[in-house]
């Protein structure tokens, strides 16, 4: 008969400050309060940057000599597309941390990221489609970016679908996190193969975004918007995460205390 003895040693973990921070963040009431303080700032910065960016983009930037005014939809489309990919990546990273270290907060953050990312993907697709109409005359073009975004949307829907299909919430989150990780590994492969597919089948690449030389006065608002949406993501994500945390812990002491404080 075989025997093997395993012993745990928690002392080693205490010495590592990063582990300590992650540990602290793992405390639900601490996270709830910390996020609560952060959220108004995130909204403020988002609104500020967006107003500035849209002002520059919609009013100050000159009309494109090829596309006229319709190019301005780029200020919505491109940041949305960038965010759709960034959010998927961060969802996968959070998922990885959640699975390896079994941290519930990370599970929550990853799962709350999914609908936000999916929404950005839909915005990117819709705005891309609207952009295509004046530019190419049709509402849909199977160009590399739009096709990639569509596949990305399916990946998001898969994660959301899997999460909602499994009954037990933590098991559902872990399964969806693993799926997100697998999708993230495949994402660059999908992206490049679609890009390539596009050139294979159409010779020259048709792109909704047009040429690569972009005037600085048009570029600045784009970059501002790109940063602004990150703050939107942060604010939205933390808000959703707090709600989910309350739902999950509704029977625990700290939530009951919060409810009591709120009532008084």
């Amino acid at each position: 008969m075989n025997t093997n003895v395993t012993t745990m040693n928690k002392e080693k973990a205490r010495k590592n400050w990063l582990v300590m921070f992650i540990h602290k963040m793992g405390s639900p009431p601490w996270f709830y309060n910390f996020a609560g303080k952060l959220i108004p700032w995130l909204w403020a910065i988002f609104i500020g940057l967006t107003v500035w960016g849209l002002y520059l983009g919609l009013f100050k930037a000159p009309a494109d000599y090829q596309q006229g005014e319709s190019f301005r939809i780029m200020y919505l489309h491109v940041p949305a597309a960038w965010m759709s990919m960034m959010i998927y990546t961060s969802m996968a990273i959070m998922g990885f941390i959640a699975l390896v270290w079994r941290i519930r907060i990370m599970e929550i953050l990853a799962m709350c990221s999914a609908p936000v990312g999916a929404a950005f993907t839909i915005i990117a697709l819709a705005s891309g489609s609207l952009w295509g109409r004046p530019t190419w005359g049709t509402y849909w073009v199977w160009d590399a970016r739009l096709t990639s975004e569509l596949v990305l949307l399916f990946l998001y829907l898969g994660v959301i679908g899997l999460y909602n299909s499994i009954d037990e919430p933590r098991k559902a989150a872990r399964a969806a996190c693993l799926l997100a990780m697998v999708g993230a590994v495949n994402l660059p492969i999908i992206h490049y193969s679609v890009k390539w597919w596009n050139t294979l089948h159409q010779g020259s690449s048709i792109s909704v975004t047009g040429g690569s030389n972009i005037d600085p006065s048009m570029l600045w608002p784009l970059l501002i918007m790109a940063v602004a949406v990150k703050f939107y993501y942060g604010a939205n994500l933390l808000t959703r995460a707090r709600v989910k945390l309350l739902e999950q812990d509704k029977r625990k002491g700290w939530v009951k205390n919060l409810v009591k404080e709120h009532k008084s």
Binding site: M1, N2, T3, N4, V5, R102, E168, P169, R170, R251
Partner: protein, 196 residues
């Protein structure tokens, strides 16, 4: 051989049972009793490393474990002897032959029959045969007496005696009336948590 401290498992954010701590040495039997649905099956599965505890420590744990649970782990489309031969080849740790083990559990007459055609009691015996073949030190048994006739119950007790005398240990969950009378058996009454 198995020592746990405040093992806890949550489902839907509620604990399935109150935290469990115990120490089990070679030659000992831990009897886990409790009402229906108090989490005995979940506890056994946590001990078997099929489930990961939400909190708590395994202070000591052998990795030579044998498990007979509600789902017996035998293929319907294979015969008794085919099931056992596969398990013996797969596990690679056996020191007994399939024929010998089949005879011990009393399935000698049906060894060529497909598992699908067996009665519930016979299927249970097949799972017990697999347990014998696995040659493991710690046995985790979830309702081992269910579906067995008196002869079957005696068989289980006999297997347990031999196993414990040879230096093995066992965690046995049962809600039924029968319980093995052992001098060295610890009794653990599992208290259900809010989730159960």
């Amino acid at each position: 051989m198995l020592s746990v401290s405040k093992i806890n498992f949550e489902r839907y954010f509620e604990p399935v049972f109150e935290p469990v701590s115990f120490e089990l040495k070679a030659g000992q039997l831990l009897l886990v009793t409790g009402t229906n649905g108090c989490g005995k099956t979940t506890l056994i599965r946590v001990l078997a490393d099929i489930l990961h505890p939400t909190s708590g420590d395994f202070v000591e744990r052998t990795d030579s474990m044998g498990y007979v649970g509600h789902y017996l782990g035998i293929k319907d489309d294979l015969s008794v002897i085919e099931n056992l031969r596969f398990m013996r080849d797969f596990l690679g740790t056996s020191n007994r032959s399939c024929e010998e083990v089949i005879r011990q559990v009393g399935l000698g007459r049906v060894s060529e029959q497909l598992a699908r055609t067996l009665s519930a009691g016979q299927r249970k015996r097949c799972a017990l045969a697999r347990l014998l073949l696995s040659n493991t030190s710690l046995w985790l048994l979830d309702e081992p007496y269910s579906n067995l006739d008196q002869e079957g119950v005696d068989l289980v007790d006999e297997m347990l005696t031999d196993h414990l005398e040879a230096g093995g240990a066992c965690v046995l969950a049962t809600h039924g009336n029968h319980r093995p009378e052992w001098a060295d058996a610890q009794d653990y009454r599992l208290i259900s948590g809010a989730a159960a």
